[in-house]
Symmetry: C2
Subunit: 227 residues, 2 copies
Amino acid sequence: LISLTGVSKEYEMGDSRIRALDSVSLAIAQGDFVSVMGPSGSGKSTLMNIIGCLDTPSAGSYRLDGHDVSRLGRDELARIRNRTIGFVFQGFNLLARTSALENVALPMLYSGARAEERYARAREALATVGLAERAHHHPNQLSGGQQQRVTIARAIVNRAPVILADEPTGNLDTATGIEIMNLFVRLNREAGITIIVVTHEHEIAQYGRRLIMFRDGRMVKDEEITP
Amino acid sequence: LISLTGVSKEYEMGDSRIRALDSVSLAIAQGDFVSVMGPSGSGKSTLMNIIGCLDTPSAGSYRLDGHDVSRLGRDELARIRNRTIGFVFQGFNLLARTSALENVALPMLYSGARAEERYARAREALATVGLAERAHHHPNQLSGGQQQRVTIARAIVNRAPVILADEPTGNLDTATGIEIMNLFVRLNREAGITIIVVTHEHEIAQYGRRLIMFRDGRMVKDEEITP
Ligand SMILES: Nc1ncnc2c1ncn2[C@@H]1O[C@H](COP(=O)(O)OP(=O)(O)OP(=O)(O)O)[C@@H](O)[C@H]1O
Ligand SMILES: Nc1ncnc2c1ncn2[C@@H]1O[C@H](COP(=O)(O)OP(=O)(O)OP(=O)(O)O)[C@@H](O)[C@H]1O
Ligand SMILES: [Mg+2]
Ligand SMILES: [Mg+2]
C-alpha cells in the first residue's frame, strides 16, 4: 500500500544543508498498525508529510496504492490524498474562524455527500472523541486537548483507509489518550484501516504491532512489537 | 507571591454557560515548584492565563507580587507581566515570519537592553535548550519539538522570577523532556525562580514539590509530592 524507496529530504539553509530524511526505505501493508518513535528533529513529521502527499522527496520514490506519487498531477494527487489519507497534524491545523463541526466536516466537501449527511457524520465523529457538546465552539474556545481531538475527529470522518497521526496524544491526559488509542485499535481491527502513529511515549507506541525508530533522518530500527 | 481567592471564569455560549474555573483559591510562594494535572478541558490553561495576566477572572481576586491585578491599568499590567512572568504556551505562539533567535529575543525589547546583549542572551537561551544551530530558522522550518524548545528559551531569557509552563514537554521525546525538566529544577534551585508546570504526564509532575489536581474547573487536590 505504502512503499518508500531510498527517500531523502534535504533543505538548503544559506551555506549549510540539512538532511531531514536520509535514504529511507519502508513498506507498509494495508491493515498494518505502525508506531514511529525517535528524538526531536529526527525526521518523523517529514516522513509523515511525504507519506501523506503533503511534501515531496528530494530523492527516491514513493508509491501509494500502486501510484507513483511523483507522476501524479496536482489535482489527481489532491483527489487521491483526500480519499486515501486522514491526517492528525502535530500542530492541529484547524481553521480558526470556523466551528469544530465545520472543521470536522471539511474533508467531506470533495466526496459529493449532501450537507445533512456531512454534518451528521461530523457530529458522530465529534461524539466519538467526546466533544459532542463542543460542536459550535471555535478553536480558540477549546482547550489544547479538545483542539487535538477535533483534529482526530476530522481525520476519521472520511473513513479513509489510512490514518497518519503525528503525536495524537501529546496534549491529552492519560485517560483520554488511552481512549484515542483504543479508537485507533477499533478502526484497525474492525475496519481494516492502516494506522501510522508518531509518538514519543512508549505506552502509546505499544498499541501498534510494529515499531520504527528514527535518528538523524535515518530509519535505525524496524521490528515487531511483542506484547 | 501569587494569591488567587475565589477565582471563577465563565463563558457564555448562546444559552449555555461554561464554567472553565469554579471558585479557585490558591497561594504560591516565591521559590515554589508546583505541578498541575487534570483531564483535558478541566481548566488548567485557563488558570495559567489568569496567573500570567493574559486573562481576567469573571469573579474573585488575583494578587501578584502584592498588586491587585484587577486594579492595574493596561500599560502597568503589561510592564509587571513582562518583567515577572516567562510563559511557555501550550500552542507555542511563535511569530511565524521571524527567526528562532528573534522570537527568543522578543521579551527583552522592553527591558532596555542593547541589541548586542539581547542577541547574546537569546543565543545563550537557545544553546541551553539545544538549538544553537537553529537560530535562523523560522518556525515552519523547525520540528514540533524544536518549536516547543524555542518557546521555552523565550520564557527563560528574561530571567523572570516566575515561569508558567503549559505542557512544556508535550512534543518532546523522553530524553529531551528530562533535559527541560532538569533545566527548570536548576533555575528553581540556583536562581530561586518559581515554577508552575501544567502536565498530563506523571513522570514530569514528579519534578515538582507540590501537586495540584483539577477537575471540571475546580481544584480537587493540593498536596506535597513525596519522592
Ligand atoms: N473562549 C472560550 N469560550 C468558551 N469556552 C471556552 C473558552 N476557552 C476555553 N473554554 C472551555 O473552558 C474549558 C477549560 O479549558 P482549558 O483550556 O483551561 O482546559 P485545559 O485543562 O487546559 O485542557 P487541556 O488539557 O485539553 O489543555 C474547556 O471545556 C473549554 O472548552
Ligand atoms: N522547511 C525546513 N527548512 C529547514 N529545515 C527544516 C525544515 N523543516 C524541517 N526542518 C528540519 O528537519 C529536521 C526534521 O524535522 P521533523 O519535523 O521531521 O522532526 P520530528 O522528528 O518530527 O521532530 P519532533 O519530534 O520535534 O516533532 C529538523 O532538524 C528540522 O529543523
Ligand atoms: Mg514532529
Ligand atoms: Mg490546556
